[in-house]
Assembly symmetry: C2
Homo-oligomer: 300 residues x 2
Amino acid sequence: MLKVPAHQVAGHQAGDGKLGPLVDDSGLFYKPLQSGERGSAEVTFYKSFSSNTRIPENIRRFFPVFHGTRVLEASDGSGLCPHLVLQDIVSGHLNPSVMDIKMGANTWPPQSPEDYIAKCLKKDRETASIQLGFRISGFQIYGSKESEFWKPDKQFFKSLSAQDVRLVLNKYVSSNASPDLGLNPNCAFASVVYGGSTGILAQLQQLKAWFEDQTIYHFYSCSVLMVYGQGGSGAEVKLVDFAHVVDGEGVIDHNFLGGLCSLIKFISDILTTPPDEYSTKACLQDSQNNQSFCDNGIHE
Amino acid sequence: MLKVPAHQVAGHQAGDGKLGPLVDDSGLFYKPLQSGERGSAEVTFYKSFSSNTRIPENIRRFFPVFHGTRVLEASDGSGLCPHLVLQDIVSGHLNPSVMDIKMGANTWPPQSPEDYIAKCLKKDRETASIQLGFRISGFQIYGSKESEFWKPDKQFFKSLSAQDVRLVLNKYVSSNASPDLGLNPNCAFASVVYGGSTGILAQLQQLKAWFEDQTIYHFYSCSVLMVYGQGGSGAEVKLVDFAHVVDGEGVIDHNFLGGLCSLIKFISDILTTPPDEYSTKACLQDSQNNQSFCDNGIHE
């Protein structure tokens, strides 16, 4: 029995007669092929990646398992449509807190058509991508049995500043996360979700080591998906969305890697900030360590 | 006695009645302030940096020593003009081989005027910047007493591909460097210039560790200058050109860092490629390790 995913936080979403991914009860995720080159590009990537013997096993686990393609009834009622059959990443987590982070300052592959570059560049500049090297595209955070999930609408993500991103990354690991910006995140799950030898920071650092060396793929407009279950359990990182992956041509993916290093720095800062500084104030202002160029009194 | 620098490889150059930097015999480099905001921005940077107590000493050595500003007769005969007084980086090297590498896929600070962004973006796309995360802006390589220096003109640098950059980085550490693309670089100085505990690779890795953490400055359009003396002696890295440095605002400089990681990968590859593969063929083609996405037979 196929159904609309309950925990999707970004991208095209099924429901209300729209085209989007579906899931089943066996842990599979069916993603309709995007029209034109994008759909075939993502299939090409999954086929290349899943058969590529040069991908280390400790890196392969960061990618959804690929189960081929299947023709299914599309969610928008338009009839039969080819779908990618992938591992459903969130299905193993109870009340999953999920964040989708689109990586890279530039989301456009260099050989794209001019109008596509202009469109992406506009969005990369309007959002935090150019400044941070990544942008948060969506999230849901589980609060409690009563409050359930906090899942902002698309509008929320259009104008997040660096300080907002810092605050949201704090709230993501808090048991008191809410849209109330005056409520200080308690970061109750920071050490278990972000920290430790198997936490998200350690996983991102493994990915970073691979990106410093791999010259096979350039992952434009790809996302890091962070997921953990109720109470902070089973935190994991996956990469998703490969419609704009291009040949690395012997060069590392410096665009993805730069953004990854930036994300790692944000998360490291959360882990090293003393708990009593987890206030909105600390989140919304740069700490002493991050004192700025202008604070030197040069720009008067 | 002020004179035109003998070993400048990029940027505005004095001589023929043009405005450019001058040097003296005491090891000082006089750089005329660029007009408008750029000139004052570079002074602001040097003042901020030289007085900033949060810069580690092992990082400070990668920047030219700043000796304030001085009003001097400009090289173009236009009269008195304020100059930055800096350490002359190449003066300590006999017959210096010099390379200027402009860092970052994007050379424009995010808050720049639209026309400036458009101009930079066009150049970043036409050159290797977007693809590699850096571009070679100029170099001179010392050959022998007879051949002296190989110093291509500006046109040479306008259309270097990734493969050309790999070849040039091989030639930079070769005793037989020449414009003849058919002549294989012997990489005679690779291990002494790039390698070892004090070589260029080790220096770039120290810089990388700092860039992974520092959130004070974003170094747009800044260059890594590599210099060594005749026979491969005294290899060193310096950062130069700070007219487009902006406040990091608590975020790492992912744009510079991504390019730096890419440059590190190119240089590491040269050090780990067996000497008998230092042929033009090896330089112009990706090795087995760099086998591409397309080689998997997916794109047919």
